[in-house]
Amino acid sequence: MRRNGWPEMLFHGLFVIFILAPIVAVFVVSFTDKGYLSVPSDGLSLRWFRAILDYPGFIDAFWMSLYLGLASATLATLLAIPAASAIARYRFPGRGMISAFFMSPLMIPHIVLGVSFLKFFSDIGISGTFFGIMLAHVVLITPYALRLVLSSITGLPRDAEQAAATLGAPPFTVFRRVTLPLILPGIVGGWMLAFITSFDEVTMSIFVASPETMTLPVRMYHHIAQTIDPLIASISTVLIVMTLILMIILDRLYGLDRLLVGKG
C-alpha cells in the first residue's frame, strides 16, 4: 500500500485546521476576561462559566433537553426493536413499504416536520407540552435507532435461537434469553445515536417548544439570533467538552465510523 506524500499531508493538515477552526474559536473566546467578545489577552478567566449559573433559563433548558433525549430515545428504541425483527427476519407482503415508511422521516426536511407538528399539536391541544415535543422527537429519531438495530439483527446467525426453540423455549423466552443479549450492542448504539440526535435537534424543536419547554439548542438559537456574547461561547464550550467525553466513550464501545454510518 502506498504511503501519503507531502502534498497529501499538506492537504490533510489544511482540512483538519478547517474542521477544528470554529470549535477552537468558541473554546478560546469563552475564556476571555473581558465583557465583550475577544481573545483572552490579559490572562484566562472563568467569569463567563460562572455567569452561566446566573441564567436559570439555560440551566432549565439543559435539563429539558436531557429528559427529552432520554425519554424519546427510549421510546424510539422500544418501537424499533420489534419492527426491526419483523423486517430483518421475515419476507412478507408490504415489507419494503413498511421499512420505507419507518425510514421516511430521514427524507423529510426538519422544517417541514416542525410546521406539521405545530399545526397538528395546536389542533389536538398539546402544543408546547413536553408530551408533544417528545412525540415529535420520537418520530424524528426512530429511523436512527431502527437502522442500527436492523443491522445487528441482520448479521445474526440463527443457530442459537433455533437450538433454544427446539429445546422447547417459547418465542418470547428465546428473544429475551438468546436474541436480546446478542443484539444488545446494536440496541445500545441505536439508542445513543437517537439520544444525541434528539439532544442536538433545533429546527423542528423551534416550532414545537413553548418558552416553558424550550430545549437547550432552541434557547441558544434565540440567544444567538439577538446577540453573540462570551456567555453563549462558554455554554457552547461546556457542550463541546461533554460531547467530547461522550464521543470517546462511543468510539471505544462501538467505533465512531460504524455508529455514524447510521446517521447519513
Binding site: 497529501e8 412478507f92 413498511i98 410546521v115 433545533v202 439570533a225
Partner: protein, 289 residues
C-alpha cells in the same frame, strides 16, 4: 420463530406499534399541513379561511421574490455539494492510507463534529467570519486586505459554514466505500506500469464513486433544507427556503403560505432524492452488466 414458509401475521404484529405511531404522528400531521397549504389567510383579521384554493402555490410560482429564494437555496446546495465532494473525497482517501493510531485519531477529529450541535458549530463560524474575526484579522496581517472585512451575512460565509457542517457526511460516505476497496489493487496497477494519475482515475475513482454519489445526495438534501446555519450566518437579508417558511409561520403568521412553501420544499427534496437514486442505479446497472 419460523424461518421459511408463511410467516403468518407475526411480522405485522411486530411492526404494528411503530406503524400505528407513525401513521398517527407522521401521516396525519403531514396531511393536515397539505390541507392547510390550500387554505387562505386574511391579512385584515389574521384568520385562516378553509376554502380550497391553489392561490398560495400560484403566489410561489409567480412571485419573483420566491424565485430568488428558491434559486438561492438550490444554488447554494449545489455549490456546497460540489465543494464537499472535491475536498471530502480526497480527505477520506488520505485517511484510508494512514496508519493507526493516526488513522483512528483523525477519523475521530473529522467525524466527531457531527455529534456537536449545529448551533455550536455555526456560532464558531460567526466568531471567525465577523469583521473582528480570525479570517479578517489574518488577511489583514498578511497584507491581502487593508480594511477589516466581514463575511457575515454573505453567501460566501454561508457556503463556508455549510461546507463545514456537512463535509463529514461526505468523508463518512466515501470512507465506507473505501472499506470495501482493496488498496493493493493500486499496487497491482502500479506494478503493471500505470502512472499514479492513471491509477487514481482508472482504479480508485470508479471504486469510490458510489460513495461520492451517495454522499452528494445526503449533502445536497441536507443543505437545501438547512435552517439554523443559513439563519445565523445569512441573517434576515439572505433568506433561504427554510428561513422563509419560518418567517411566514412565526412572524407574518400566514400559516397557509408557510405550509405551501414547506410542501414545495418537501416535494422538491423527495423528487431530487428518488430521481438521483434511479439515475445512479441505472448507471451502475450498466457497469455491472
Amino acid at each position: 420463530m419460523a424461518e421459511t414458509g408463511s410467516p403468518g401475521s407475526r411480522p405485522y404484529w411486530l411492526s404494528a406499534p411503530g406503524l400505528v405511531f407513525f401513521a398517527t404522528l407522521l401521516g396525519v400531521p403531514l396531511f393536515t399541513t397539505l390541507m392547510l397549504s390550500f387554505y387562505s389567510f386574511d391579512y385584515a383579521t389574521g384568520g385562516i379561511q378553509t376554502d380550497l384554493t391553489p392561490a398560495n402555490y400560484l403566489e410561489i410560482v409567480q412571485d419573483s421574490y420566491f424565485h430568488r429564494i428558491f434559486g438561492r437555496t438550490f444554488g447554494v446546495a449545489l455549490l456546497v455539494t460540489l465543494i464537499c465532494a472535491l475536498i471530502g473525497a480526497p480527505e477520506a482517501y488520505i485517511l484510508a492510507r494512514m496508519r493507526n493510531p493516526w488513522k483512528s485519531l483523525f477519523l475521530l477529529v473529522i467525524l466527531g463534529p457531527l455529534l456537536i450541535s449545529v448551533i455550536v458549530r455555526t456560532l464558531g463560524w460567526a466568531l471567525l467570519l465577523g469583521s473582528k474575526g480570525a479570517i479578517s484579522e489574518g488577511l489583514q496581517m498578511l497584507g491581502i486586505i487593508s480594511e477589516p472585512i466581514s463575511l457575515m451575512f454573505t453567501i460566501t460565509g454561508m457556503v463556508i459554514a455549510l461546507v463545514h457542517v456537512l463535509v463529514p457526511f461526505m468523508v463518512l460516505s466515501v470512507w465506507a466505500s473505501l472499506q470495501k476497496l482493496d488498496l493493493q489493487t493500486e499496487d497491482a496497477a502500479l506494478t503493471l506500469g500505470a502512472n499514479r494519475f492513471t491509477v487514481l482515475r482508472r482504479v480508485v475513482l470508479p471504486q469510490i464513486m458510489p460513495g461520492i454519489l451517495s454522499g452528494s445526495l445526503i449533502v445536497f438534501a441536507l443543505t437545501a433544507s438547512a435552517f439554523a446555519t443559513p439563519s445565523i450566518i445569512g441573517g434576515r437579508r439572505l433568506k433561504v427556503v427554510a428561513t422563509t417558511a419560518y418567517d411566514e409561520y412565526l412572524s407574518t403568521l400566514n400559516w397557509p403560505l408557510g405550509a405551501a412553501i414547506a410542501v414545495v420544499l418537501l416535494v422538491a427534496n423527495v423528487i431530487a432524492i428518488t430521481s438521483y437514486n434511479r439515475m445512479v442505479e441505472r448507471r451502475y446497472a450498466k457497469i455491472f452488466e
